[in-house]
Amino acid sequence: MSDRILEVRDLTKSYGAIMASRRLCLDIDRGEVHALIGPNGAGKTTAINQLSGDILPDSGSIVFDGVEISRMPPHRRARLGLARSFQITSIFDDLTVEENLALAIIAHAGHNFRFWRNCLKTPLVQRELPAALERVDLDRQAGTIARSLSHGEKRQLEVGMALTGRPKLLLLDEPMAGMGPGGTVEMAKLIGRLRGEITILLVEHDMDAVFALADRITVLVYGECVACGTVAEIRHHPTVRAAYLGED
């Protein structure tokens, strides 16, 4: 087993004249928290969407855990162990919290049709649901319709769904966007707890959080990787300071 969980080579995606990804290369090691930063419009979300399969690249390769996945549909990548959260929270609004998590649990149990038995009462869900609820601190909201959760709780639920089934790589697209200070702290704690358990690719605007959480950082500018290194290296990287951090 190689140390690399993800290897992205020469990933290119253009929308008309705009190059959203420009020969993008990215390496992620097993077990690290890797942050992807860059100014607005640098193509961070486009990159994540190509990794998860929501968008197909024009060219380039994505090797995940030894498998070339750049043409694979999203649900198959998810089953290989690639989970994600969306920039705009994406949960099942009309279902209860426990139903949301139950769906994530059964998604990893393979394909089958069960028509009769109440899904929440199946042994698999009964076994895994309590831990899944506890992991994201939503035990008390188990029966609540997801639509009526607070913004922060919705985010936690989304991350909780992504974590179910123990993914090998978790893509977090701005998990702290739109959260109050309390929510940001909660989310940072959650990511901190996951460190070492799961490899995480984190896209985030909050620089304090990135510097506190990340092992390594990749900087994108105009769809291109301009720098990659440890937190200390990136802090002092001249191109990065000019292109990005200089704004602060």
């Binding site: 949960i91 099942f92 609004d93 059964i106 069960r114 028509f115 109440n118």
Partner: protein, 328 residues
């Protein structure tokens, strides 16, 4: 949850009791007509519940549900005709009046047609899905109009209802209780279905189609099977309707029936299963009563529907169970 759950259970039980006790009360009062009217209501309720599974739970807004009702009815009509004239169907299959043979066949053909129609329609969504289901149903409608061998525009008369061992379907009372049992069985099945693993996937796909793929479930196959299960329900309703009216015509496949079924679902309450039963009851009773006064009864039904849809997010059933305002 538990309080509104008890209330729902009480209302469903009361409704069930009403349907069970209706025939003896009507017979005691010396009225036969209500039994036949409510048989019709029970049959439409089966079709409406199957449509609710599609729209209310699966988020698949089909405007072609009449196709499956019509197909189910035509299976009964066509096999009856071949049974009467002794000519085998396509030179192979003898006709039949045996309900144990004809009804499963009607359900099967409706389900298979739904698989075919669904496999194409489900590649689209939203407005396109509505239009493509409508187009398929209208295609079948015109197909049966052109089918001179089976009456074309004039439809097919059925001279005797199907035979079922142990029951006399020609007896309105027997037929009523049979329809009631079938509705109850279909309701129980769908009620379990929407809570099952399969149902959870269907509801999830309806709630957020991108998220369901992102967690690793390809929902297309699930939605297709759901479409077929709903089609099967429509086919069953069609077979029963053919027996009740002893007549089959292309009108059963027309979009007006699809529209009426949709109105019943909305009136009763989307995604509530028992709501569509209430919706079918209210719709057909209103039609019956208003038609006594004017042939333009739709003029009165229209505004009523508008009011219900605007003010009651969960329909009349939601109003009864007290969950009407909780939608947003």
């Amino acid at each position: 949850m538990s309080r509104s759950g008890t209330r729902t259970a009480a209302i469903v039980a009361a409704g069930g009791l009403f349907f069970v006790l209706l025939p003896p009360v009507a017979t005691f009062a010396g009225e036969d007509y209500p039994i036949s009217l409510f048989t019709r209501i029970l049959i439409y309720a089966i079709a409406a519940v199957s449509l609710d599974l599609l729209i209310g739970y699966g988020g698949m807004i089909s405007l072609g549900h009449a196709a499956f009702v019509g197909l189910g009815a035509y299976v009964v009509g066509i096999l009856h005709q071949h049974g009467t004239d002794g000519q085998p169907l396509l030179g192979l299959l003898p006709g039949s009046d045996n309900a144990l043979l004809v009804w499963p066949l009607a359900v099967l053909i409706a389900a298979l047609s739904a698989l075919v129609i669904g496999s194409l329609s489900l590649r689209t969504s939203g407005m396109h899905f509505i239009m493509i289901t409508l187009a398929f149903a209208q295609m079948l409608y015109y197909f049966f109009i052109g089918l001179e061998k089976y009456g074309g525009d004039d439809g097919l008369s059925i001279y005797s209802r199907n035979r079922l061992p142990g029951l006399d379907l020609g007896n309105d009372l027997h037929f009523y209780y049979l329809c009631l049992s079938l509705l109850a069985a279909y309701l129980l099945f769908v009620h379990r279905l929407v809570q099952s693993r399969f149902g959870l996937v269907i509801r999830g796909a309806s709630s957020n189609s991108r998220r369901i793929e992102a967690i690793g479930i390809h929902s297309y196959r699930y939605r297709l099977v759901c479409f077929a299960i709903a089609g099967a329900g429509g086919g069953l309703a069609g077979a029963l309707l053919a027996n009740q009216t002893e007549f089959v015509s292309p009108g059963l496949l027309n979009w007006t029936l699809s529209g009426e079924l949709m109105v019943m679902v909305l009136l009763g309450g989307l995604g509530s299963l028992f709501g569509p039963v209430l919706g079918a009851t209210i719709f057909l009773l209103l039609e019956e009563v208003l038609a006594m006064y004017t042939e333009h009864w739709m003029v009165f039904l229209g505004p009523f529907l508008v009011i219900v849809v605007i003010f009651l997010k969960r329909g009349l059933f939601g109003l009864l169970t007290g969950t009407g305002q909780r939608h947003e």
